[in-house]
Subunit: 133 residues, 2 copies
DNA sequence: CTTGCCCTTGACGTCAACGTCAAGTCCTAG
DNA sequence: CTAGGACTTGACGTTGACGTCAAGGGCAAG
């Protein structure tokens, strides 16, 4: 398949695909006239790349990550980086969940205008909420 | 306190503080010679702003989030926005958690180099993982 | 008074992950 | 054979959260 079809299947732009190749994330065969040709499996690979981007990883990390994923072997140095990134991701998720709970409290305040039962003590409510998921 | 001291206490640059003010995230008093003056509570506010940035939220979202968080009063119009942004936050958190599980898989692959049981099928593993938390 | 550090606004630089032309080439349908 | 869509490389534009000078003002110590 050529670049347009892959872009459709993977749900990204052709520009993105050329960029991935530029960054060493994606390879392609070429026809005699320099047109890129991909195998079917490329769509899955592109989706994987997208998900890693969505997770907030940068291309430099991804470019070292992908061969490790393919090989199924992760060296100790890369492992350290992964654990680090994992911790950062966890922290981000925690902050987001906390913000989400704060928003929930605000929303409840807005939809239950009973001004008395909830003395706008957001933090208490958040604390309560977090001990009983 | 002036801007340098606040920068130290909050662990950010003075440039960042001026940027926050520019974006409407942070206010300051001014001396007769235009120097910024902050109260002690500003450090906590800056740390909160930092955490929200760290979580991947943009200033436009934060600037609407902050007043809502510390006002405790939400009008119906803002409520709509909040519900919307709550959904976006949830989506982001979900992506992050999924990415975290993928990284866990990689890390397990790295720490359990048993090359046979996991033929690099990350997606399956993640799928398995998500049905049994 | 002057040295020296902190402050001011203004404006340009950066980096990532692309978007968006531009100008030319390739390929397929009719 | 030709029209028009898909493809090529090249290069500049964008957005966000600052970094980094630049040119000058403010102020306490010696």
């Amino acid at each position: 398949m050529r670049i347009g079809e892959l872009a459709d299947k993977a749900g990204v732009s052709t520009r993105a695909l050329r960029y991935y190749e530029e960054q060493g994330l994606l390879r392609s065969q070429r026809t005699s006239s320099s047109q890129r040709v991909y195998e079917e499996s490329a769509a899955d690979r592109v989706r994987l790349i997208q998900e890693l981007y969505q997770a907030g990883l940068g291309s430099r990390l991804i470019v070292t990550l992908l061969p490790a994923i393919d090989a199924g072997e992760v060296g100790p140095e890369l492992l350290t980086r992964l654990l680090d990134e994992r911790a950062q991701i966890e922290a981000k998720a925690a902050v987001l969940q906390d913000a989400g709970r704060r928003l929930d409290m605000l929303i409840r305040l807005a939809t239950h205008p009973d001004g008395q039962s909830c003395p706008s003590s957001l933090d208490q409510a958040v604390a309560q909420d977090s001990v009983s998921p």
